[in-house]
């Protein structure tokens, strides 16, 4: 059966969608099959987890800046872990561990990819919903359960997991080594196992949907870059997440059933353990086999979103569409063979280090192509400074700054001295943390009207939010490079034990002050987000004059997305400011964009897409 016949099948099928059975509260808002609702569920869960994760960073930033000071705020949030306002070193480690876990997995993976893949894949490829609505619902609820378990683990008697977000054994395997490796770590592992199941269900669904449910005319080379990035992200997740699952499983076995996958020759708390023959280095390999692709799982959707927003608001086609797709694919491929650059000084064979240096620095090439293409995209544009556009430009800026220091940490010889120092912390926060967060925010500001039936977020508050955050993020992470180059290791509760680092105290204060300002600015966003959900101004149907299909739907959400037939596609997603044959005006006079569902006109030149 041809794809065409499938499409017409679907069109027949949709006719009964208009008069749908009245949905109950439960089927509409809780166990919804509708991708638009699931996307909102992901977004709101992601934002709630984000608030928790970011507030944690506030607590440990205060501790780092003023280690001798007693803060009542510690007692309020941490209770018994901060008697008299002095933070317990154990809970400091727990805070950094859970901050990392929440931000990487729950906010920037599920929050970002979950939200926008779900919202945009069906809408942008012209499908009525995901291939399997049920799997999609399962995927969200598994994610929700794993988020709930992770949150619950914060209240465990001996404290939550505190072996760092990378949970290297033996520290994570032995409760004798650190209290957080008891019940807290058990819950952490269970939560992550469920998270992986959720992620795999989601990824499978995304891939199948993109490959099979594109509307007539939507060839792969006409897909918007957002959809391309979601496809590639889902493939990377599918390849790498199962490996983390196996690592987690083996760690559970070592912890609870006495196996020795990762443990050997250990003398702790006055006795020799029976474990023999395992290797922590094996765990590091398994962990980073996911862990490194993971950072691309985080950044690729942000790249797609940014490409789309830059083109739309510059009123220009994205520069080098094919190169953008090719670089997405090559980044995805390379991302699975560079994990060893986290392990240059782990004790693995130095020759492996050479290989991983080589592959790692190769990744800089497609990344550079992307950065230059984005810059060329805004060159000679007619830039509409919508809030989403500012975040997109901010993304390119932090991605360049953070990406460049990757040349340092990716080079095995240079990594020797900066490995596990604050230099690395600064590097990955800029390149993946801050950048991906900017992508997330850009997406929210841009597609908010699509999510909340036409309502726009407040522009003025958006501008204020952006500028404070943009300045604050550099204010936190630029000085942090110096702390790292001064030789200060990360995950230190305080550095007052080393008089040598006493002169770093004021840098720490500067970073914390910027952090407080930046975090406060996020409340402007939260207010704007919640307020606009209910009272935002209704915008026009296609507020940003974009070409993609999601803007051809009505404000009102219906199951099946389009009340009538699914629109067909006749052109790529980037016909912005295209001139007619005589170059006297745009192809459609007075309108600088041609939506994808408009057939080719007589007065235009055909492009390759």
């Amino acid at each position: 059966m041809s794809a065409l016949a499938q499409v017409s099948d679907m069109e027949d099928h949709h006719e009964d969608h208009g008069h749908h059975v009245k949905q109950t509260f439960v089927t509409k808002y809780i166990f919804s099959y509708d991708h638009k609702m699931i996307s909102k569920q992901y977004m709101i869960t992601g934002i709630v987890m984000g608030v928790i994760g970011i507030l944690m960073s506030l607590l440990f930033r205060l501790q780092l800046a003023w280690p001798d000071h007693k803060f009542t705020i510690y007692e309020v949030f941490l209770g018994k872990w901060a008697t008299d306002g002095v933070m317990d070193p154990n809970i400091y480690l727990a805070l950094v561990t859970i901050h990392g876990t929440i931000m990487v997995f729950f906010v920037l993976t599920a929050g970002l990819s979950g939200t926008f893949s779900n919202l945009l894949i069906p809408l942008q490829i012209g499908a009525r919903d995901m291939a399997s609505g049920f799997l999609n619902m399962m995927s969200f609820w598994l994610f929700f359960i794993s988020a709930a378990i992770m949150t619950m683990s914060l209240f465990v008697e001996a404290g939550p997991a505190s072996a760092g977000w990378t949970i290297y054994p033996p520290l994570s395997a032995l409760p004798q080594a650190i209290p957080g490796s008891g019940a807290g770590m058990t819950l952490w592992l269970i939560s992550l196992a469920i998270f992986i199941a959720s992620s795999l269900l989601g990824s499978l669904n995304f891939i199948v949907t993109i490959l099979n449910l594109r509307t007539k005319g939507m060839s792969m080379t006409r897909m918007p870059l957002t959809v391309w990035s979601f496809l590639v992200t889902a493939m990377v997740g599918l390849v790498s997440f199962p490996v983390l699952f196996s690592a987690a499983l083996m760690l559970i076995m070592d912890r609870s059933f006495g196996t020795s996958f990762f443990l050997s020759d250990i003398y702790i708390a006055g006795e020799v353990l029976h474990h023999q023959g395992g290797s922590p280095v094996l765990f590091e390999h398994l962990f980073w086999f996911l862990g490194h692709p993971e950072v691309y799982i985080v950044i690729l959707p942000a790249m797609g979103i940014v490409s789309e927003i830059l083109a739309t608001n510059s009123r220009k086609p994205i520069f080098g569409y094919r190169a953008m797709v090719a670089s997405l694919l090559s980044i995805a491929f390379l991302s699975t063979i560079v994990w060893g650059h986290h392990m240059f000084v782990s004790g693995m064979n130095p020759f492996l280090g050479s290989v991983f240096t080589f592959t790692t620095l190769l990744i800089a090439i497609p990344s550079a192509v992307k950065a230059f293409n984005w810059i060329t995209t805004i060159w000679r544009g007619n830039i509409q400074m919508n809030v989403a556009m500012l975040w997109a430009i901010g993304f390119v800026s932090t991605f360049i700054t953070g990406g460049l220091t990757g040349i340092v940490v990716g080079d095995s010889a240079l990594d020797i001295n900066v490995h596990d120092t604050y230099f690395v912390v600064a590097h990955f926060h800029l390149v993946m943390g801050v950048s991906a967060a900017y992508g997330f925010l850009a997406g929210i500001y841009h597609w908010f009207p699509k999510m909340f039936e036409g309502r726009l977020m407040n522009k003025k508050l958006g501008y204020i939010h952006f500028w404070i955050t943009a300045i604050g993020a550099y204010g936190i992470f630029f000085p942090m490079h110096f702390v790292g180059l001064a030789g200060l290791p990360r995950r230190y509760y305080t550095n007052t034990e080393f008089p040598y680092f006493d002169d770093l105290a004021d840098i720490n204060v500067v970073m914390t002050v910027f952090a407080i300002i930046t975090i406060s600015a996020q409340f402007i966003f939260l207010y704007n987000f919640i307020h606009s959900m209910f009272f935002g101004k209704m915008g026009p149907k296609n507020p940003w004059n974009a070409t993609t299909l999601e803007w051809t739907t009505e404000h009102k959400h219906i199951h099946g997305n389009w009340a009538g037939a699914i629109p067909h596609v006749y052109r790529w997603a980037y016909d912005y400011s295209k001139l007619n044959k005589d170059e006297t005006d745009y192809v459609i006079a007075g309108q600088d964009f041609i939506p994808q569902n408009v057939p080719l006109m007589d007065n235009e030149d055909e492009t390759e897409h």
Partner: protein, 353 residues
């Protein structure tokens, strides 16, 4: 009863707010507006802010260097460290040139091409030549960096036993370091955690003849100019041997022996006399003096003045006192080193005691 009434009032108040909300919403739903889409005025203002932001990035870079370059590590105190510093310098220059240039382009374009009514964007979708250029330039630059980096890395990591390096074991446990010298035969005795007992804290094999003259110490002394090969062990969890002044780092892994070798080139005494360290120590002591004043006012012990020493830090999260797992390193002349080592008891002597 009053509790019930209070709850009822709160509930009713809630319902009232909700209803008012709905009315408010229904009244506003028709208001379609373009206020929240960027206007020509917004484009203009935000365009200028982009330039301001570019200036901000440059300023924060400059200010950071001005304020904090004194906190950075001093020159490398090891032979291979110079190579690393050289590579770092080249990489940093590259990073700054590329960073300054691309940030300028990005923000300048955002400013110049800020939207206004009469402007028409250029339909510019592709240019193979341009894209080839900015693919090939990174390829060439990175090839250079990779080759330089790999040569340096191989030089550092290849340990040649023919150099007759001094062999020292670094032994990690929560939360302290021990060092073991091979003694007169420069050979370490066999050891295993299963042999740890009483005074034999490193689990040496008492039957191994090579172990008899081993010397276990709490302070690391290194003779200047002699190549040192560190054999690294851990008894419990992962730790990392980090000696930033020597540009040296290697994890210590339970169940295996890892290694790292370098040649110290600057003695502790010489390092204390360098300009960079003198300035740094002076600055640190000013900070400490000020803190001491505060402490004295509260009736607490003042801080000791600080004197520079090389450090070995733990750089892999290892538990609650990870932040205070350190060992002092002293680099000294061959004679001083020999004199110090002669004073240390051997393992056999320790066992007899």
């Amino acid at each position: 009863m009053t509790v019930f009434l209070v709850i009822l009032v709160i509930l009713l108040f809630g319902v009232a707010v909700w209803q008012m909300n709905r009315i408010f919403q229904l009244a506003r739903i028709k208001s379609t507006g373009f206020e929240d889409i960027a206007t020509a005025k917004d484009n203009n203002e935000q365009g200028y802010l982009m330039i301001a932001f570019l200036i901000f990035i440059y300023v924060i870079t400059g200010v950071s260097f001005y304020l904090w370059s004194g906190t950075l590590l001093p020159e490398a105190a090891s032979e291979h460290g110079g190579e690393i510093d050289n590579l770092m310098l080249i990489t940093m220059i590259l990073i700054f040139v590329v960073g300054i240039f691309t940030q300028a382009l990005l923000h300048y374009f955002a400013f110049v091409y800020r939207g206004n009514k009469p402007r028409k964007a250029l339909f510019y979708a592709d240019n193979d030549k341009l894209e080839f250029i900015w693919t090939i330039i990174p390829v060439i630059t990175l090839a250079g960096l990779i080759i330089y980096g790999l040569f340096t890395w191989t030089d550092i990591m290849n340990v040649d036993r023919d150099d007759d390096p001094l062999i020292i074991e670094l032994y990690a446990k929560q939360f302290a370091w021990d060092a073991r010298y091979g003694g007169n035969d420069n050979t370490l005795g066999e050891a295993n955690v299963r042999l740890i007992e009483g005074i034999n804290i490193l689990g040496l094999d008492p039957a191994d003849p090579n172990a008899q003259d081993d010397k276990i110490v709490k302070e690391l002394h290194l003779p200047v100019g002699r190549r040192v090969l560190f054999k690294i062990r851990s008894q419990d969890v992962l730790h990392s041997v980090y000696m930033p002044h020597f540009r040296a780092q290697m994890n210590s892994v339970p169940g295996m022996i890892t290694q790292f070798a370098f040649t110290p080139t600057i003695t502790t005494e010489e390092m204390r006399q360098t300009d960079h360290i003198q300035k740094k120590v002076k600055n640190i002591n000013e900070i400490r003096a000020e803190k001491s004043k505060e402490l004295a006012a509260k009736g607490e012990e003042p801080l000791d003045p600080y004197e520079f020493d090389y450090l070995l830090l733990c750089n892999k999260i290892c538990g609650v006192s990870h932040y205070n797992m350190q060992m002092k390193i002293i680099v000294e002349s061959e004679e001083d080193y020999n004199a110090w080592l002669a004073e240390q008891p051997t393992f056999a002597e320790q066992l007899k005691r």
